[in-house]
């Protein structure tokens, strides 16, 4: 109820997704709007309704028909335009939820899957423009596989003046321990250690770093250059101290999934030789922020199954570190609860009309991922003038899950 006693109109949302099957991002995200989720110590139902759903790729294992049957208010649409206009000829919803992760799309020449974040955005903003009205827009994960398109998405959101919020759940999930990067602190170096491969979980590692270091003194200043290390070059760089081994150790000391290098043990810190044996394809993206911070996103697939962060912060005697905890339904859990804070923050955007954290974070991490894959292909450090121009201030308020 509004203060004057009139009932608040429940926002109506259009969902635009790639594929709606078990444990794919669209299922995790849209299900939470439909069925609710555990939040703040109770079972929470969002104060909004998904009134339309567009699914780009249909096939075996689809769940959206079952969802539509239980939620008859959600209309299955065959075009994005229909999902937004509901056949009225103009924008008929109060918010858009885009989940373009998963599905199968062709690979770019750099080997990144060309997921249709931008194509969806184009069609959605076409309706915005035609209707002379824009509504809050949630975009799961990265902006686009193509830098120009990523940049354009942010520019258009400013031009049409609608909140655009996205990124990875890593930025908003539980932290173990539950700590925040001190606002305005000066940091020299930051690392994240995670798992998965290039062009997928690397984005989560980049967002892990960025949601923390953007809070440093002066905010984000942009990134000057980036270099990707893999294979033997990774191990040489690790041993030469190209990034801090102490920070990697601090991050790994936050892991709860550190594979024992010696199989008769269950929790033991690995030697470098054991690391090499466990991680056949190590990956590091190292990049220099303009004011001097050095960040390194590391993937040690085969040795860990979680994302951890560590940084040297001026005035703190030892590394600042935490784990961004993902309750992962790969046998460890059954619910990917890290989507709950992602959806809750999206709900807050739809209710307040304000993005809960800056889209420039995701613009920078989208650009870092593209540059990193380019650096790997070219085998050299790349100057990144496009990323040097991405400067922004963080939300001083913490938005990660802690209640």
């Amino acid at each position: 109820m509004a203060p004057n006693g009139t009932p608040i109109k429940r926002p109506r949302l259009a969902a635009v997704v790639t594929s709606y099957k078990k444990y794919l991002h669209p299922q995790h995200v849209v299900d939470r709007f439909l069925d609710g989720y555990g939040w703040n110590g109770t079972y929470h139902h969002s104060e909004m309704d998904v009134v339309s759903l567009y699914v780009d790729q249909r096939g075996e294992g689809d769940l959206f028909q079952e969802r539509a049957a239980r939620h008859p208010g959600m209309k299955i649409c065959t075009t994005i335009e229909e999902a937004l206009t509901l056949g009225t000829g103009k924008l008929a919803v109060d918010g858009v939820v885009v989940v373009a992760e998963h599905g199968v799309y062709p690979l770019s020449e750099n080997g990144i899957m060309m997921r249709p974040h931008y194509e969806f955005f184009e069609q959605i903003t076409k309706v915005f423009r035609a209707s002379g009205r824009s509504v809050p827009y949630f975009n799961d994960k990265e902006l686009s596989w193509n830098w120009d398109w990523s940049k354009k998405m942010v520019d258009v959101s400013h031009e049409l003046n609608f909140p655009l919020q996205g990124g990875s759940s890593l930025a908003v999930t539980w932290r173990v321990p539950s700590v925040e990067f001190p606002l305005g602190a000066t940091a020299k170096e930051a690392v994240s250690v995670g798992y998965g491969g290039m062009g997928s979980y690397d984005f989560h590692g980049l967002e892990t770093i960025q949601c923390m270091v953007e809070r440093r003194k002066g905010g984000e200043t942009g990134v000057e250059w980036l270099q990707t290390y893999r294979g033997d070059k990774f191990w040489k760089a690790h041993q030469d101290g190209v990034w801090s081994q102490a920070l990697v150790k601090a991050a790994l000391s936050r892991s709860a999934t550190l594979r024992p290098g010696d199989p008769t043990f269950t929790d033991i810190f690995p030697t470098i030789e054991q690391m090499k044996a466990m991680v056949p394809d190590p990956v590091a993206y190292q990049y220099q922020h303009r004011e001097g911070l050095l960040s390194t996103m590391i993937l040690m697939n085969g040795m860990v199954r979680d994302f951890t962060f560590a940084a040297t912060i001026d005035g703190q005697p030892k590394p600042f570190s935490t784990q961004m905890y993902l309750p992962m339904p790969d046998g460890r859990t059954t619910l990917a609860s890290f989507f709950s804070p992602l959806v809750y923050n999206a709900e807050q955007m739809f209710l307040t009309g304000k993005a809960q954290y800056p889209i420039e974070r995701t613009l920078l991490t989208s650009g870092l991922l593209i540059a990193a894959i380019d650096s790997d292909r070219k085998g050299q450090r790349l100057q990144t003038p496009n990323l040097a121009a991405v400067t922004y201030q963080p939300n001083p308020k913490s938005t990660y899950w802690r209640s």
């Binding site: 079972y43 539950s178 000391s253 560590a310 059954t334 619910l335």
Partner: protein
Amino acid sequence: MLTRRRFVGYSALSSSMLACTPLMRSTFGQTSSKQRPLRLAILGSTYRRGSNLQTIADRFLVGYPYQGDWHMPNVQVVSVYVDERIRRATAAPNEFQLAITGRARRPQAPKPAPPNGAKPTPDERWEPMAPSSEEQGLASDLSPARAQQFGFRLCHNIPEALRCGGDRIAVDAVLTVIEQCSDYPYPSNDRGQILLPRYDFFQQCAQVFEAEKRAVPYFNHKQLSFSFSEAQSMVKTSERLKFPLMAGSSMPVTWRLPDVDIPLGARVQEAVMVGVGGMDDTDFDALEAMQCMVERRKGGETGVKAVQLLEGDDVWEAGKAGRWSKDLLTSALSRSDTPLGLTLLDGRNQDLVGDGALPQLVKDPAAYCIEYTDGTKATLLMLNGAIRDFNISARLAGQDLISTQFFMPPAPNETYSACLAAKIDQMYQTRATPYPVQRTLLTTGLLEACLKSRHHLNQRLETPHLMESYQPPAESKHVRT
């Protein structure tokens, strides 16, 4: 091997030897130097990969993750006693049995491998001194390999472990992890309690302490005993001999999602804990985790007046009758990351209480209903089939509900036991227990009383013996940094 009969014999012998000896002060404080590591004796049941003993003892050998670093405790493991080794040796054919069957007891030279596909005859397989292939693999007793790698003494009995082969106590602390072992199982009683020899281990140590007038800090993993009276005797002995006794499981000290605790002195009206696992098993951990929160209420712990263990449909009926709160159950389950049923089928979120799905999912529910003397009530609901994790919600007078998940990170790391190892290490170094052993004592009694209620056809049982009072630590003791 430690049997009751042997223990009683040992006990009688040493008590008579001690009868005339005046008890001198224990000599705490002799090893406060930070340079010299504390010498630790580890006593346990089975040192196989994945056993509680292996996961906890190894932390004192190879360190553990702590406060963002890989922490090496200032502890040197000097001796280890593994009960299973002695039980195995006792179970093996003795010299006489070997002699009458014509077998030599000396180890036999390895035989050449049989030709491909040829199965060894039963006769060829019968080699009592050689470890089986299963024992040589990851499931084997790791203690000989650890002894070799870390240079500790693998002992034949508990006094030897405390004296490291000499004639005086030669350790500064004791760690005991006593658990069921599948190959040489300890017996159970008619209430389903496994008769783990925790009291027996403790008494053997206490006798050495008493005989030598020197007692050292002692950690007992999980409940003190299957018997409350034995547990009480353990606590009294530690007070009499003036050594710190710490006990309990990892759940009270592990991470919480979110990182919350009941404010000290809050008026707690009711708590509902949800968990999974077996009876006389993880129910202890869950009861202790619940107790570590509830004890923070106004006035501290004042004891329990009655318990009742309900099973089957009686559990749901009790909820309808208000014996436990559905709101608190909804709240506790909202913290779970592991709902089963339809979530397993297609990933959806479920309000298991609101949807009415619980009775279908949980075939054998159990409710451990605890009535505290001050009117606070607490219920542990064991919901096998509905979830796989441990969560709590509590109602405080005049405040919102407080709820959280006790985060139990998965195997193999099981980093929750690193949280416990840090507390044990702290106890060894400071010679002060981080939280009162009375919590574990009361929980030991709660579990015993609940299982007795079950044995008495789920009757409500008055528990005048559980009027245990104690004050909780002012500061929260779960790991948060």
